[in-house]
């Protein structure tokens, strides 16, 4: 073992507090860095990947069945700019009521829900299967609906219940029980739920339209394609359109919201790590000045002394980095699972290159920080270092010490108060570290209390519908539904605002619905249920 190795080993072993602090600080930095970078990578174009995998619809057109026949709709697949089409599918707005507990002997839920009750309205599309052309819906759980009374819910809907749960759906006077037979995901956001064409008819939606899904030759030319399709159909047939860019924007809004926070946390953790490692190494140098003098007296060169102190930091830092790597990868799994749940194309593990980059980056930062702090050890003159404890040295902070001595405080306290002024850089680093630590905790606490996912579960088991007279307007704050509501999701398209919905006070306007700033995404005209619906 070389002299340097022996000195480093003894320093690491005997200065165990420093070793433990550096290990923990580095582990925390690597963990936070991995989570931040891993989630950032995961949030990089997940929509695009999912959209490509599902052969998503670039353009979705809702038509009025009274003004365009299914044959005319089918013929639009030959329109200029259209590469591929699917549909027409029947689409209706259907009111849905979460399942109610049914005690033994109680009447069915359909009988216990007041006639004038209101529930959330969702878009139900009629499709006989997940499809093989445009918008290949991914069945996540269960099976596809095969008969009336069965429904497949979108995984992005805020409604969650086990497969097999029975819901009540439909307008007052025509409510019917339906069973959830599966959960599916449509990245193109073409519907909130799917059933068979006969099943949609049985739900008696107050409004019904036909939905055509298109893939375009040029995905960027959605306006031209929309105009071409509109022109190919009788006047007024197109009730609403939705393009993939708007859907993507909305989807990315959800993830992009977290990007600055992820970057912020990653940056803060790295900064804290730098400050902690720098402070610890600077403290080690400051408290072992005499040792440095001895080493130099024995013939250690300044570079060797610096290397010794850097290595003393790097040994625990490497251990901490490996621990942080393991912890980061383990913690990332449930977090990435959420992203996977949203898009279905996100890997549940952190990319290996992210591991390498974060590990190398943090160790590099630790090395540079430790080298900067240990640089003083290299610059320290041996004769001065050896004189420590034998001769008084002029130190900074003498004025502060004099002032503190005059304060009406116990002498030990006043001496302690003056101490930071003798090492202002280290004291400043400590203040900054504490400040950033407090900022991190505040930020995290604020996010935790404000994020929808962290809100407390419903305090009352009451269903979300309410009776006439007390029905909430769309602007009312949404009440939490029973434990079934688990995720914020874009609202289902609804007919005009008389139908109250939970979970979202006012739907966003879309470019295709310019007439009403607060209009729902689909601006369909109520029609009698019926019509085609094949996939």
């Amino acid at each position: 073992m070389s002299a340097l190795s022996r000195v480093v080993r003894s320093g690491v072993q005997r200065r165990w507090v420093q070793t433990v602090v550096i290990t923990l600080a580095t582990a925390a930095a690597v963990t936070a860095g991995l989570l931040g970078a891993g989630l950032l990578v995961a949030s990089n174009a997940p929509f695009d990947h999912a959209f490509a995998a599902q052969h998503g619809a670039h353009l979705t057109v809702l038509t009025d069945p009274a003004k365009a026949t299914t044959a005319q709709l089918t013929a639009t697949s030959d329109t200029d700019g259209i590469a591929e089409a699917a549909g027409p599918f029947g689409v209706g707005q259907v009111m849905m009521f979460p399942p109610m507990p049914t005690p033994p002997g109680a009447p069915p839920a359909t009988d216990r829900i007041p006639e004038d009750a209101r529930g959330p309205v969702i878009r139900v599309a009629a499709r006989t299967g997940p499809g093989t052309g445009v918008d290949r819906i991914t069945l996540l759980e269960g099976r596809w609906a095969s008969k009336p009374g069965e429904i497949v819910l979108g995984s992005g809907s805020r409604f969650r219940a086990p497969v097999g749960t029975t819901l009540t759906m439909g307008p007052a006077g025509a409510r019917t029980d339906v069973t959830i037979v599966g959960f599916a995901r449509s990245v193109s956001d073409t519907a909130d739920a799917w059933t068979t064409p006969a099943g949609l008819t049985a739900l008696k939606p107050p409004s019904l339209g036909y939905q055509m899904l298109y893939r375009l030759d040029d995905p960027g030319a959605v306006t031209d394609a929309r105009d071409a399709v509109t022109a190919a159909l009788p006047g007024g047939a197109v009730a609403a359109t939705q393009n993939w860019i708007a859907v993507k924007k909305e989807a990315n809004t959800r993830t992009s919201l977290f990007v600055p926070f992820l970057l912020g946390f990653g940056g803060l953790s790295l900064l804290l790590s730098v400050l902690v490692v720098g402070t610890v190494v600077a403290g080690a140098v400051g408290s072992t000045t005499r040792r440095i003098g001895i080493l130099k007296g024995l013939g250690f060169t300044p570079a060797q002394v610096v290397r010794a102190y850097v290595a003393q930091a790097l040994v625990p830092a490497t251990i901490g980095a490996v621990l942080g790597l393991v912890a980061g990868n383990l913690i990332a799994v449930p977090l990435l699972a959420d992203a996977q749940d949203l898009y279905g194309t996100v890997s549940l593990t952190i990319a290996p290159w992210v591991d390498v980059v974060v590990l190398t980056g943090v160790l590099l930062v630790v090395t540079v920080t430790a080298a900067a702090a240990a640089g003083r050890a290299g610059r320290l003159k041996a004769v001065d270092a050896l004189a420590v404890g034998r001769t008084p040295a002029a130190r900074r902070g003498q004025y502060a010490a004099r002032v503190a001595a005059r304060l009406p405080l116990p002498r030990p306290v006043s001496m302690g108060l003056a101490r930071p002024f003798s090492a202002p850089a280290r004291a400043t680093a400590m203040v900054v570290a504490v400040a950033f630590g407090a900022a991190s905790v505040t930020l995290a606490s604020g996010l935790a209390t404000r994020s929808p996912a962290s809100r407390s579960p419903p305090t009352t088991p009451a269903p979300t519908w309410s009776s006439t007279g007390s029905a909430r307007s769309p602007a009312d704050p949404p009440k939490r539904a029973p434990s079934t509501w688990t995720r914020r999701r874009s609202p289902p398209c609804s007919t005009p605002s008389r139908v109250p919905r939970t979970g979202r006070a006012s739907p966003r306007p879309t470019p295709s619905c310019p007439a009403s700033a607060a209009a729902p995404r689909w601006c369909g005209t109520p029609r009698t249920p019926g019509g085609p619906g094949t996939s």
Binding site: R6, S10, R14, R15, G297, L298, P302
Partner: protein
Amino acid sequence: MTTEPLIALQHVTRRYDSGPPALDDVSLTVRTGEAVAILGPSGSGKSTLLNLVAGLDKPTEGTVTVGGTRVDTLSEAASARYRRARVGLVFQFFNLLDDLTVFDNVVLPAQLAGNARGETTRRATELLTALGIDRHARAYPGRLSGGERQRVAVARSLMNRPALLLADEPTGALDTASGAEVRRLLTGLHADGQTIVLVTHDRTLAAECATRTIEVVDGRIATDTAVSAATR
């Protein structure tokens, strides 16, 4: 005694900030095989002189040459290599690394010099045995008495067979019995031909070990006296 000059200081002055110089125009030669005791009151410049010879400090003016090497012009790294190869240092407060065992402290200079492991172990064992501290080889310095620690420091300083042994108040922190041990040790080393320069207040040490005593007063050499064997 050989006549080869090992140390040569020419018109050396060392000033610290304002005030009178710690050393003022000192010229001095020490020949190989000599044992020189530098005496003087506190603050007279004895330790400064020793630090200049060790390459731990640089003169403000003048030249310091040791074994043909201009020590005053060496860089920090070159000074370190110079000390490693040619100088053994013994300090008043031992300056052992308390997180290394006695054995590890002793072998450190040899490891730093890149000596072979077997030779290093052999030399360390030989020194520890000769100095009567071999039974403490695996102990940490904190468990030893002052005299034992100083013997460890001497063993460490001799590890690379330095041409020059510099000792700064080697008995200053020791009780009478331990001081006598160290005096015997240094006397024995000089008898074996080791060139020694020691700084001390201890006139007994100077009388027993030194072949020459130099008295420094206010940064200048006041007396430079050869000590006869009969006197010792």
